[in-house]
């Protein structure tokens, strides 16, 4: 682990590198810092500091549009995380541990939703739902409308791929001999999966689920297209406000969204670090 940089300590190059790094960190954090500070400002105008207050936070929680958008966001995030984690994990397992016909095609299909631009995916899903509903209406005289259902279905569609990639990375790091050892000890494939593979990839699955949750909670572009008039999620609602201008209320909502992101980062780091302890726990509870 020794670090030989090829540079003597405190050489001019080293100093430049350090300076650049601190500038990058300032660049990363200064805008967020300003945003958070001004969310505690009593004034109506974002740029003019008067006195500290929690006024805008009270207004956020009293604002019915924000609260209903938040509720929608949480519903969609929960549904899409649940289904995409299951489907994505199964996809990763099949790609990493099995050989079957059409596998290469499947491999490409799994990666496509990550590679293609968000706007394109949004366009695709909008046309798909609009056209599908039109055909359904012509066929049976009834069709569903755009709303939380279409949003959730769309979120699952892009989240499956991200979960699959994360779980696959974890499976790739895992020693396949552990499963072979289980098989040698007369475990069938399901038992080997349940007792050996699943506990070992659990941090990967949790990481994938957290990524899916974050992506679902953050998505603006695709949701904006498939939301329909009735239902908006929090980011889409905030996006609408942001386009009109800058207000302290948006600062307060933004700060709360940042706090939520930080909590998710903390949880995901916790999963990675505590993965070893939990495997043994899991095994103990299995008996």
């Amino acid at each position: 682990m020794s670090v030989a940089t090829g540079l003597r300590p405190k050489s001019p190059v080293e100093r430049l590198l350090a300076a650049n790094s601190w500038l990058v960190f300032a660049f990363f954090y200064a805008p967020i810092f300003v945003l958070v500070v001004f969310s505690f400002n009593a004034n109506n105008n974002v740029g003019i500091w008067t006195e500290p207050s929690l006024r805008w936070y009270r207004e956020v929680f009293a604002n019915e549009s924000v609260m209903s958008a938040l509720k929608n966001s949480l519903i969609v995030a929960a549904i899409s995380t649940f289904f995409s984690t299951i489907l994505g994990t199964m996809a990763a397992l099949s790609l990493e541990r099995f050989r079957f016909r059409g596998q290469r095609l499947y491999d490409g299909l799994i990666y496509l939703p990550i590679i293609i631009p968000e706007v394109t995916m949004a366009v695709m899903l909008l046309l798909f739902f609009a056209q599908g509903f039109q055909w359904l209406d012509a066929a049976v005289g009834w069709s569903p409308s755009f709303g939380l259902g279409t949003i959730s279905l769309s979120h699952i569609a892009f989240n499956i791929s991200f979960v699959a990639v994360v779980v696959r990375a974890r499976l790739g790091q895992m020693d396949p001999r552990l499963e072979e050892a289980a098989a040698d000890l007369y475990a069938d494939r399901w038992q080997a999966f349940r007792r050996v593979t699943l506990p070992l990839i659990a941090p990967g699955v949790a990481g994938g689920a957290l990524l899916a949750l974050t992506l679902s909670l953050d998505d603006v572009v695709i949701t904006n297209f498939v939301a329909g008039p009735g239902a908006t999620t929090l980011p889409v609602y905030v996006f609408g406000l942001v386009r009109r201008g800058v207000t302290p209320l948006i600062n307060a909502v933004s700060t709360l969204m940042l706090v939520a992101s930080m909590v998710l980062v903390a949880v995901s780091f916790g999963f990675q670090r505590g993965s070893h302890g939990r495997v043994t726990e899991w095994r103990a509870s299995d008996r």
């Binding site: 590198l17 790094s21 805008p31 059409g102 980062v265 780091f269």
Partner: protein, 295 residues
């Protein structure tokens, strides 16, 4: 279920076992396959079909009179101008990110392991933070009565009028996508065998030569990965130009959106989407090809 553990002495059983396993893999793959076929492949196909359809005078799409008109319009000077602007902006964003992120990732990778992890967490936080919120932060900062402008006026300067310009969009894009450049570069540099650099120095290479001949080639997979991760999404960016850009800074992303939500020209919007998707797939495939060669 004991079929897996049957001895190899019975080849026909071996083949049957392999077949059973392959079938099992297929069934495990099936749910996601079906889902992505319905909610990804079919939508993709519909966009392709729509791009050859025609728009009626009321703005509805008629799935008849198939033509290449929408694709012909892609060569309009107006469209070409938007495409070139998007391309240049994405290129500039990628280059700036690379120039800033490389020394930064180098610095991170050459710290002590404990400090390295702290720095990594500090990069991960903006990476995981809400993109919309981070872009909005720049709208607050750059506004004509925002903090930067007031600071400049307090020091006797001019108010800052950056918002709704290409510069503002560029700043927002660099800010938004910098972590996507830092992380793969850091991963490549951290994995690198630094004793190779030492060996170069022992063989009387100066610092610059050692970097150019050893470090840079070894970190190239990270450079490729980071560049793709920045270039592809910025080329189709919608949120950043919508918040920080103005009427004169239309980019491909918001131009496509406007074809569906405002202009109601779905065939043309579909053709634009297909065009953009093709360009990006070409870049990504090129990346995987070159990446494989460099790894």
């Amino acid at each position: 279920m004991t079929i897996d553990t049957v001895e190899a002495a019975r080849p026909e059983l071996e083949v049957a076992a392999r077949r059973a396993d392959s079938r099992r893999g297929f069934f495990i793959a099936l749910p996601a396959w079906v889902y992505l076929t319905v909610f990804f492949t079919i939508p993709l196909f519909i966009v392709l079909v729509y791009s050859f359809a025609t728009r009626s005078s009321t703005g509805r799409t008629r799935l008849a009179d198939w033509s290449l008109d929408s694709y012909r319009r892609l060569w309009d000077p107006l469209v070409a101008q938007i495409a070139v602007r998007s391309f240049m902006l994405a290129l500039a964003t990628t280059l700036i990110c690379l120039l800033v992120a490389y020394p930064f990732a180098y610095y991170m990778a050459t710290r002590r392991p404990a400090l390295r992890n702290v720095l990594l967490v500090l990069v991960m936080i903006p990476f995981w933070s809400n993109f919309l919120v981070r872009t909005y932060a720049w709208k607050v900062l750059l506004g004509s009565d925002g903090p930067l402008s007031q600071l400049s006026q307090a020091m006797g300067g001019e108010p800052i009028r950056l918002l709704f310009t290409n510069t503002a969009v560029l700043i927002g894009l660099v800010y938004g996508f910098l972590p996507f450049m830092v992380l793969p570069l850091y991963a490549a540099l951290e994995r690198m065998d630094w004793s190779l650099v030492e060996a170069a120095r022992d063989l009387y290479a100066d610092g610059w030569t050692a970097f150019r001949r050893v470090t840079w080639p070894l970190s190239r997979p990270g450079v490729f990965a980071g560049s793709i991760l920045v270039f592809v999404p910025t080329l189709g960016a919608y949120v950043t130009p919508a918040i920080l850009g103005g009427a004169k800074t239309t980019l491909l992303g918001d131009y496509i959106v406007s074809q569906f939500l405002a202009a109601r020209n779905q065939p043309f919007g579909s053709a634009l989407s297909v065009g953009m998707m093709t360009v990006m797939l070409v870049f990504t495939v090129a990346y995987f090809r070159s990446g494989a060669r460099n790894l």
